[in-house]
């Protein structure tokens, strides 16, 4: 089992946190608690899905990114842009115009991350052919899903497709291309990935099954959206754009970051595409029990509508999906007429990229294990069951844990006390075993003294 800690892109600003516990209730891996009036993250459990980011009312959860100015540390500055980035802008803003703006604000090269999809798809099919015994193969396209499976479904880790993500393959491809064309060294080329979510940042900064990441920095999609949109406004209506060459994406490639994007390209006989983390969890539970059988391929995405639902995208996800579809339809039309140019240079790199595609081992890192020693774990389990019977099963969260079961587990792992439960406190007060000052003190330890004072003053 892998023991080194996860890198997390999601960061908590304790100044801004008001300890409201919304994040704690939204977390699919029960990775948050409230202590001393602030949210506390358990790094081994967090999978960087971003649910907490979405529900935080004070924006106390934020996402670390590299300083935009750091792109200027490199003579050659490449923006690796996912197709969903283009989907944030109205249809009358052309892809070529956005490329132009990205170059205006400082990038020397722009490439869409879907550029290497044809190679990625071929590698997936090859792996499936060579490993007919692994059923189902689970796509590693979404990094939050990879982590979900590592922490919550360790028995399915061996089903994960051990291939680099399309973003990494595109990064390898563009780096080689620029090195060759411009005769530059590696350290003169800065690759910056424009991310729609936190999980991709975490994956880039501490890749699973890879020694070193293929990109040099990450820029959040929302911050780049603001820069680009400002330029669009400055250019004003009636702006005459200069047509620029754009990445030669196929209609299939443009659609891959949407739900069903990989499944529709798969040769697998029985496959499913499932988005939204609770839906994925429900399906994986059944798959693990073999209640669901005969599945060849699974495309799983943590966000609703996949990448357009990423927490750093800047428009309604359904509108974004439709814009990406519209672009794919236009490309498909050109493909039918034989007018769509193909990326021949990518084909020339096929052998190199295929050879560098396979990842090292992806290891389970179960968050559920109570103790490495089975006998000790069994003892703890018994205690948890006893505690569970004493707790009210209301999952009210007043103890600072998301559920009664989580509190029972915390108590056994010595991270909480039974008296943290408000029902237990009341019970003890009624029997004269606790006085009101003692129970208020406990509430203060969980929810902070400020919160208690405020309520008293009001």
């Amino acid at each position: 089992m892998e023991k080194t800690p996860f890198f997390h892109a999601l960061t908590l600003d304790t100044e801004a946190c008001i300890g409201c516990s919304h994040c704690m209730k939204s977390c699919p891996t029960e990775a948050l608690r409230v202590r001393d009036g602030k949210a506390v993250l358990m790094p081994d459990r967090c999978i960087d899905c971003g649910n907490c980011f979405k529900v935080c009312p004070t924006h106390a959860i934020y996402i670390k990114q590299d300083d935009f100015e750091s792109i200027f540390n490199f003579p050659c500055r490449v923006a690796l842009v996912p197709a969903v980035f283009m989907g944030q802008f109205p249809n009358d803003i052309t892809v070529s115009r956005i490329y132009g703006i990205l170059k205006d604000i400082g990038f020397t090269h722009v490439i869409e991350t879907e550029s290497a999809i044809p190679i990625y798809t071929a590698a997936k099919e090859k792996y499936a052919e060579e490993h007919p015994d692994i059923k189902p193969l689970i796509s590693t396209f979404c990094p939050a899903i990879v982590r979900l499976i590592q922490v919550k479904f360790p028995s399915l880790v061996e089903n994960l497709l051990p291939l680099r993500a399309p973003i990494d393959i595109t990064a390898m491809y563009i780096r080689r291309k620029i090195k060759r064309e411009m005769e530059l060294d590696d350290d003169q080329i800065g690759l910056f990935y424009i991310t729609p979510c936190a999980a991709k940042i975490a994956a880039v900064k501490s890749p699973v099954g890879e020694e070193k990441s293929s990109v040099d920095g990450v820029i959040n999609m929302d911050s780049l959206y603001n820069r680009v949109f400002k330029k669009i406004k400055e250019q004003g209506k009636g702006f005459q754009e200069k047509k620029l060459p754009v990445s030669q994406l196929s209609a299939d490639s443009v659609l891959t970051s949407l739900t069903n994007g990989e499944r529709r390209l798969s040769n697998a006989q029985h496959s499913y595409s499932i988005d939204q983390i609770d839906n994925v969890t429900e399906f994986l539970e059944k798959l693990e029990n073999e209640e669901i059988e005969d599945v060849d391929f699974l495309e799983l995405r943590a966000c609703d509508q996949s990448c357009p639902g990423g927490i750093l995208t800047c428009d309604n996800r359904f509108l974004m999906c439709e814009r990406v579809f519209e672009r794919a339809r236009k490309i498909a039309d050109r493909e039918r007429k034989g007018e769509q140019a193909k990326d021949h240079e990518l084909e020339e790199e096929r052998v190199y990229l295929m050879r560098n595609m396979v990842l090292g081992d992806i290891k389970p890192r179960s968050m559920l294990v109570l103790d490495d020693d089975i006998a000790k774990a069994l003892e703890k389990m018994k205690k948890i069951n006893e505690l569970r019977a004493m707790l009210p099963q209301t999952d009210c969260g007043i103890c600072g844990a998301p559920t009664c079961d989580a509190l029972a587990r915390d108590i056994v792992c010595q991270n909480a006390e039974l008296t943290d439960c408000i029902f237990i406190q009341r019970n003890l007060e009624a029997r004269g075993n606790m006085n009101i000052d003692e129970s208020l003190k406990i509430m203060e330890l969980i929810w902070g003294s400020d919160k208690m004072d405020d309520y008293v003053k009001k």
């Binding site: 360790p154 028995s155 880790v157 539970e285 059944k286 693990e288 029990n289 073999e290 209640e291 389970p364 179960s366 559920l368 294990v369 109570l370 103790d371 490495d372 020693d373 089975i374 006998a375 774990a377 069994l378 389990m381 018994k382 069951n385």
Partner: protein, 137 residues
């Protein structure tokens, strides 16, 4: 640690509830995922057997530090020839049950494949008891 679950005749909706609960427990005990999988698959088969072919029954599970022992006791028609039923493809399931995707004659053979010890006893017209054991190491 001891667990008991009731299963009811033709209650296909809840088939898998006991195996899910056991799985949840085993996952917390640092037991090898492939062993957990074997336990869960065997238990799910036994659970479905009691639901599909009998009139329901009780599942008793005992988890110790080195093994899990499961006993599924059903009341039902019983199995006249256990050796015959242990062979793949043999089933006495009714057409209705087969229409629901059960009764392919894979249940008992699949349990046998996944456990370290299996004992099936049955009395026609009374019921069947399936006892199985899986070692953790």
């Amino acid at each position: 640690m001891h667990f008991e679950y009731q299963v009811y005749e033709a209650d296909f909706v809840n088939a898998g509830a006991a195996s899910s609960a056991i799985k949840k427990t085993l996952k917390q005990l640092n037991i090898n995922p492939s062993i957990i999988k074997r336990v869960v698959v065997a238990l799910y088969e036994a659970e479905v057997n009691a639901i599909a072919h009998a009139y329901g029954g009780t599942i008793f599970a005992d988890i110790e530090s080195d093994k899990i022992t499961v006993k599924v006791v059903d009341t039902g028609p019983g199995i006249p020839d256990i050796d015959w039923a242990m062979q793949e493809g043999n089933s006495t399931a009714s057409p209705e049950v087969r229409n629901m995707g059960f009764g392919a004659g894979m249940g008992l053979p699949n349990i046998k494949k996944n456990v370290d010890k299996l004992n099936v006893t049955s009395k026609v017209g009374v019921g069947t008891t399936v006892e199985m054991e899986v070692n953790f190491v």
